[in-house]
């Protein structure tokens, strides 16, 4: 230990630092400034950027001792006298902040970049330089577009010789109006200041730290675990092994196949075998190294083929299935007559596809703290599904549901990757119970990759047939997905790969079969666009191929086959509003499709694709009669409406969405609304942030609650003022009758309402209508509403290296009604960024069951310079049942962009992409083959 004197944000600190401690650790753990985030610890994400003596540095790879005598500036120092720095204001105004985890690093990087760009007068050169300057900072939410706008805007402002009067900054809650007004998230200011607390930022007094020992084998029996040497280490408080918490769990009631710590055997390399609670992270890690485990490796199953086959003499991964193989789930549905469909089709196309697994890549690693007190267990954790975690914890800890409290702090992104109950959450709960102290855990980026639950690697053969006029006659899909070691959402994923092909096109003869297999790899689960991203890719590629076969414009072919609004699909999905045509038309117009396609220079190409997605599942995961979402409102003497909801804002903006809805119904400003979500002690149940359900379901529950409150207020006023209830208007913080004889301020109305009664609490709910057919499997993919959309992508392919650059994406998405257009755009831009990654660079690569690229350097998320120019259009169709007409906007948009890119590559090179990510090498090889064939 060495004492250092370091000035952080102008304050002198005298701190003891260990010789090889990082600056990030010192700032967060010793100076207590948690605005500086840690995303990778390896210099590959930029989240930890701070300024040292004015220079931007990555604090995760800077030794603390180097900064002895230095002045460090962290995000917390930027706002002065309660006022944000202008750059921070622009981040807020432009909507550049979603989950906000990358924001502190982004802002500081931009701040150190800006002065050098002042002389850049050319707008496009400025944008290019901003992109370059930010290219070491990963953002997984925004697609960078709004961040770049904010930074370029700032540079322009500071470059201007004359001070142009930009309108003064308005905090989000001061922006007037409700539905349809673009606004930043309510908490954007807090995030941009570095004041929003994420799970690892909340440090409880007296906490112990937890670290895990993970299996080095993919499939092995655990013969013996010896913790004796580790246990006697100074600072070690408890070491847990699997037998202590043998309770099984899993997000779906039908796949409760996982234990928190491996019991008897391990099923993937990286599975937790023991957990240590100790005074510090270092001690816990050192103790893990002292634990001796004796394994007996058994044959591992690593590929889909391996697992489909009979296991022979070998031990299966799970001993549950009827047959002697490792198939987890088989799903099959058939509608119409596919044989007949093939006969009727004049042109058919059949292709096989292969997709690598993907990671969500959220920037905030999982983290949690658990403690026990007189109220039972409390856990503060980065989760998308507080409710399911609540249930899983009660089950495995063997306590009543009433003794578990799950608190969701701010989340640094999820994308499906935080939507299961996780072993680490259960383990810290257990360790805390055993030690009587709060226990903290924070996963490294490698551990996040090992925890996985990402997109399933998949293989599929899909066939389609069309008539000579271009009517789709048949669609048949045969799909196999690689689930990894456990179930997760896999049963749903299996169905979604098939059922979510029954729109957006009319189909009479449609069928699919999906196998999900267990393999000895980290488990797969739900990821943005859940289940149907890969099979959608296949279908949109086939349509492209068929369009060529019948010499029809692929847009025209799609237009011809779209389902109408207010119709049923072949599998009895109820389609309400449907903006497919408008979406496609929009992107055709904006991209110049008709004029430009086929006329581009060599190596460039345009491609199109469409898609659709559910707005929440109509059926709950756990069968019961609870509403899918409940929202409570409480209005007290202070005129403030407290909105409590169990829904989980993970950076997508759902808290703000709830406030907008309440504001719209009651005609009051955001300054009178406070959203509390989610804390399972205080907030009513919502099933969580998955399957794009929150706006539709929690939004509807909020609307229901607000309408009830409105009725309460109306009734109180009717009695007091003796007026006709139908004549009352709620708007602009006033309540007035048509003839304005009654004309009250909000506070006056509140006084009347609360007189002799006090605070008024109301409860609203959403229950999905009964939908769908009565055949087995009819429930899969049923949703009260579906979103639709289209993308056109432009690519530039280097004809000698095969390198693909996606230059532009024009996308349009029918979200029913954009409650907050700024947030919807953000979701779309983020989806198209993520889809670009899946298309061109992201994949999880394995070496014998070991993930090779478990870090942000080798798992290649597109940076600001790899992300195409994104042109987003919002299409509004007003869904009859959505809150103010709204449908989902967070997931569906990712479906069309990936095949659009592949179809653009075909257009540029004549090479049909059948495996993802696109490989430069394959493109070259196939171009050569095509050339030879000519």
């Amino acid at each position: 230990m060495q004492q250092i004197n370091i000035s952080i944000n102008g304050k002198q600190f005298h701190l003891l630092a260990t010789e090889h401690e990082t600056l990030a650790h010192l700032i967060r753990e010793k100076a207590g400034l948690t605005g500086t985030k840690i995303g990778c610890e390896e210099g590959s994400c930029g989240a930890c950027t701070v300024l040292v003596d004015g220079k931007a540095v990555l604090s995760c790879i800077t030794p603390a001792l180097r900064c002895d005598g230095s002045e460090v500036t962290t995000i917390e120092a930027l706002a002065k006298d309660g006022k944000l720095h202008r750059l921070q204001e622009l981040f807020v105004e432009k909507g550049a902040i979603q989950c906000g985890f990358c924001t502190p690093g982004m802002v500081l990087t931009a701040l150190s970049l800006a002065p050098a760009l002042i002389r850049e007068t050319d707008s496009s050169a400025l944008i290019r330089k901003v992109k370059e300057g930010l290219s070491g900072n990963l953002c997984r939410c925004t697609g960078y577009k709004k961040i770049i706008e904010a930074v370029a805007g700032y540079v322009k402002e500071i470059s201007a010789t004359t001070v142009s009067k930009s309108s003064p900054f308005k905090p989000a809650h001061a922006i007037k109006g409700g539905v349809g007004i673009p606004r930043p998230y309510l908490e954007a200011e807090k995030k941009v200041r570095g004041a929003a607390e994420y799970a690892d930022d909340i440090v409880l007094k007296n906490s112990l730290h937890c670290k895990f020992l993970r299996s080095i084998h993919s499939h092995a029996r655990i013969e013996h675990i010896d913790v004796s040497e580790a246990m006697i280490m100074q600072g070690v408080h408890y070491i847990a092994t699997g037998r202590e918490i043998p309770g099984k769990f899993g997000v779906l009631p039908i796949s409760q196949d996982e234990t928190a710590i491996a019991v008897e055997k391990v099923r993937y390399a990286g599975e937790i075998v023991a957990a240590v609670a100790a005074d510090t992270e270092e001690i816990a890690a050192e103790a893990c190294r002292l634990i001796r485990v004796k394994y007996k490796p058994i044959r591992e199953f690593l590929t889909i083929e391996d697992s489909l086959n009979d296991a022979g003499e070998n031990e299966r991964i799970h001993e549950t299935g009827k047959f002697n193989n490792n198939i987890h789930k088989k799903a099959e549905l058939r509608f119409g007559d596919q044989q007949q469909g093939i006969k009727e089709a004049e042109f058919t196309s059949k292709m096989s596809f292969e997709f690598e697994g993907l990671s969500h890549g959220f920037t905030e690693p999982h983290a949690a703290t658990a403690y026990w007190d007189e109220n039972g267990l409390t856990i503060i954790t980065a989760t998308q599904v507080p409710h399911y975690l609540h249930r899983a914890l009660a089950k495995v800890m063997e306590v009543p549901l009433s003794r578990v409290r799950v608190i969701k702090p701010y989340l640094g992104g999820g994308f499906g990757g935080k939507s299961d109950p996780f072993p680490h959450e259960i383990i810290v709960s257990h360790l805390s119970r055993k030690t009587g102290r709060p226990v903290r855990v924070r996963l490294s980026r490698e551990e996040v990759f090992l925890t996985n639950h990402g997109r399933h690697p998949s293989k599929m053969t899909v066939e389609m047939g069309i008539s000579g006029e271009g009517t789709i006659k048949v669609l048949d899909a045969d799909v196999a997905i690689d689930g990894g070691a456990y179930g997760s959402f896999g049963v749903v994923t299996s169905y979604y790969n098939g059922v979510l092909l029954q729109a957006p096109y009319k189909l009479d003869n449609f069928g699919f079969r999906t196998y999900r297999v267990y393999t000895n790899k980290p488990q797969c689960g739900a990821m943005r666009g859940h289940g149907a991203v890969n099979s959608r890719f296949a279908v949109e590629s086939l349509i492209d191929d068929l369009a060529i076969k019948i010499a029809m414009d692929p847009c025209e072919l799609r237009m011809k086959n779209f389902l109408d609004s207010n119709t049923l699909t072949v599998g009895q999905y109820r389609i309400t509003s449907n903006g497919s045509r408008e979406s496609l038309q929009k992107v055709m117009d904006l991209s110049g499709w008709k004029d430009r396609r086929g006329k581009l220079e060599k190596g460039r190409g345009l491609g199109v694709a469409c898609g659709f997605f559910i707005s929440g599942s109509a059926l709950p995961i756990i069968w019961n009669e609870l509403p899918q979402s409940v929202v409570h409102l409480k209005l007290d003497f202070d005129g403030r409406v407290l909105v409590t909801s169990g829904s989980s804002d993970i950076g997508q903006g759902s808290d703000t969405m709830l406030a907008i809805i309440v504001s719209e119904v009651l005609g009051i400003g955001m300054d009178k609304i406070f959203v509390l979500a989610a804390d399972t002690l205080l907030t009513p149940v919502d099933f969580g942030s998955y399957s794009s359900r929150v706006t539709f379901m929690a939004g509807n529950a909020a609307k229901d609650a607000a309408l009830i409150l409105k009725k309460e207020i109306t009734e109180a006023l009717v009695i007091k003022h003796n007026i006709n209830p139908g004549e009352l208007n709620f708007s602009d913080d006033r309540i007035y009758s048509n003839d304005t004889t009654t004309n009250l301020s909000w506070m006056e109305a509140v006084e009347i309402l609360t007189a002799k009664r006090g605070a008024v609490s109301v409860s609203g709910k959403y229950i999905s209508p009964k939908l769908g057919g009565d055949f087995k499997g009819a429930g899969a993919g049923l949703s009260p509403s579906y979103s639709f959309g289209a993308c056109i992508a432009e690519v530039e392919v280097d004809m000698e290296t095969g390198y693909v650059k996606v230059t532009d994406v024009w996308g349009a998405h029918d979200c029913g009604k954009a409650l907050n257009p700024l947030a919807v755009e953000g979701q779309l831009e983020g989806s198209w960024h993520m889809g670009t990654g899946q298309a061109i660079s992201e994949q999880m690569k394995y070496y014998k069951g070991l993930l090779l690229n478990n870090n942000f350097l080798e798992y290649k998320i597109p940076t600001s310079v790899d992300t195409p120019d994104i042109h987003a259009s919002i299409i509004e169709t007003i869904d009859p049942e959505g809150p103010f007409g709204a449908k989902e906007a967070g997931e569906g948009a990712i479906h069309p962009v990936i095949p659009a890119i592949a179809n653009a590559i075909f257009n540029a090179t004549g090479v049909r992409i059948t495996s993802l990510p696109v490989s430069a090498e394959d493109i070259l090889a196939k171009m050569k083959e095509n050339h030879l064939a000519e």
């Binding site: 401690e21 990555l58 030794p63 990087t109 070491g136 690569k845 080798e858």
Partner: protein, 311 residues
């Protein structure tokens, strides 16, 4: 977590050297630290004594004489790319700098550190847990190379991008070690053995990089990687041509050391490119396949020749 015991800042090269002497050379110099810190995080660098040399001002200067441009080894990559003397003489250096790591890293990373940045392999640059689970590759003291499927020779790839372009410019390094100061061709400090890629004693300090002037060199630099930023090289090529007619081709990322092919105006360019390919030792330790990287050598070199208007 980081392990180890001491961290000392040296204010002169001589002081750093004497600290190294006192500790029998068992030290790790620490310049920007952008490579060292990551290696330490992964448990690949366990040195207990870190000597931070980044504050040695004397090693940050740039001098141009009539014959030589001498660049202090501790200049940050960012400052190097913005240095007018350097850019006037060798614009290709700025271009190469901009292909290294990320803009923020380049503010801290130094030129000297870049030249000695560790060789990389998908089986080696992993956590301790990972290396154990994989059975330890040769470079991690295991029995065989995993990337090649069993070879007894390590070809962890050479990734310093700056070395490639500097060697093409016939740069030398000025070294300080226990026996004093010496000047050597840059390429001579690389062994080609992925296990021990540096041919200099551990206490050696690179003081400066010296590039001969007045050769009227034109150079073309290229780098293959998946993303247009952040990524280490999958193949780096630099081709420099002197007015007097000599051609120097240098490849990075395809061997445990830089691959060098010297030629002259009028040589069969195809033969030069073929020689470069045949000298490379590519193993599957990268996101791109072996075959692809090999094929790209030819594509990159042909493009470079064209841009240099050779042949």
């Amino acid at each position: 977590m980081l392990k180890g015991k001491t961290y000392i800042k040296a204010s002169t090269a001589e002081q750093a050297l004497s600290l190294a002497r006192e500790n029998n050379g068992r030290v790790r110099y620490f310049a920007g630290g952008t490579d060292v810190m990551v290696n330490r995080f992964q448990g690949n660098d366990l040195a207990d004594l870190l000597i931070d040399i980044s504050e040695i001002q004397a090693l940050k200067e740039v001098f141009a004489s009539d014959e030589t441009l001498a660049i202090g080894s501790l200049i940050s990559l960012d400052d190097l790319a913005g240095h007018s003397t350097v850019c006037d003489h060798f614009p290709v250096l700025a271009e190469a700098v901009k292909s290294v790591a990320s803009p923020t890293i380049r503010k801290t990373a130094t030129l000297g550190g870049n030249l000695l940045c560790g060789n990389r392999c998908s089986y080696f640059n992993q956590s301790e847990w990972w290396r154990e689970a994989s059975g330890y590759c040769l470079k991690s003291s295991g029995p065989v190379c995993l990337a090649s499927g069993g070879s007894k020779h390590c070809f962890a790839k050479f990734v310093s991008d700056m070395a490639i372009v500097l060697i093409s410019l016939n740069a030398c390094v000025e070294l300080l070690d226990f026996s004093g100061t010496s000047i050597k061709p840059l390429e001579s400090i690389y062994t080609g053995d992925g296990m021990a890629p540096r041919g200099i004693s551990p206490e050696s300090i690179i003081k400066a990089i010296r590039i001969p002037l007045n050769h009227h060199i034109s150079s073309v630099y290229k780098k293959l990687r998946k993303r247009a930023t952040l990524d280490f090289t999958s193949l780096t090529t630099a081709v420099s041509v002197k007015k007097a007619g000599s051609i120097r081709i240098v490849l990075g990322g395809v061997h445990a050391k830089p691959v060098i092919v010297d030629g002259k105006a009028g040589d069969d360019l195809k033969a030069l490119a073929a020689a470069a390919v045949s000298q490379s030792r590519i193993v599957d330790n990268d996101t791109y396949s072996r075959k692809y990287r090999k094929d790209m050598i030819i594509v990159f070199l042909e493009r470079s020749f064209k841009e240099l208007q050779l042949g």
